[in-house]
């Protein structure tokens, strides 16, 4: 199972890297979803370690999938709303606010 944590930490790092460096908002959402999936994989794997009959990890993973889908849907809606006003989905060019 340590191997699983290795894989997921790699995925988490990749997602974080993408979320912080990508300029296109859709690509950022992809990166964020990769991070959430890394956590989900952890949950499912850990479900095998502790009383598998309780299925806690799998229930948690199902919950996290629902949350991930909600976040993605809301985020893409926001991206469309921003696009309609700014004419771009490039986060670097959406900068009317002072940081």
């Amino acid at each position: 199972m340590t191997g699983v944590v290795f894989v997921t930490s790699l995925l988490l790092a990749l997602g974080a890297y993408g979320a912080l460096t990508r300029r296109n908002a859709v690509a950022v959402v992809i990166s964020l979803e990769i991070m959430m999936n890394a956590a989900n994989l952890n949950l499912v794997a850990f479900s095998r370690l502790h009383t598998p009959e309780l299925m806690t990890g799998q229930v948690f993973a199902l919950l996290a999938i629902a949350v991930g889908a909600c976040e993605a849907a809301v985020g893409l809606a926001l991206i469309l709303a921003v696009y309609r006003r700014y004419g771009t989905t490039d986060l670097d060019r959406i900068n009317l606010l002072r940081g």
Binding site: L14, V26, V29, N40, V44, M55, A61, L76
Partner: protein
Amino acid sequence: MSIPAPADILFWFFAAAAVGGAAYAVTSAHLIRSILAFGAFLTAVAGEYYLLAAEFVALVQIFVYVGGVLVLMLFALMLSTPGESQPSSLGRWSPAVGVTAVGVGAAIMIAAWHTPLPVVKEPAAGRLDHLGQALLGDHVVVFELVGVLLFAAVVTALVAVRGERR
């Protein structure tokens, strides 16, 4: 070291596919290819779920992520990127951010290396029944609240894209 079982080989194959897909999705300059690689990543993760005796989660992953989120992403891409796929370059902070991300990943790996984890147990027999009982038994409140969450997400998305009433 015994000969790895086919399940193990498959497991590492899917792991490699997931990491590869994620890496490509994160770094590709072509958005449509990013989304495709993301789809490959999602499918590989679903494969991992299957191998970890979580068939139900694996299919929900396909159902929700590939059939739903991925299509939404294509939708968003199509509606927000007129014409050809525009290459989307990386920002200026890449090296520093890269070091940070690698640091976080490495820290977790080192911590994992020094942590003995329990032995993997055999998957439960009749696990679908167990899953159903967990969802409507111990975690019934989670099950109900997910409804609230979905409702909140629907309202939020609708309000976010509503037209201007000037």
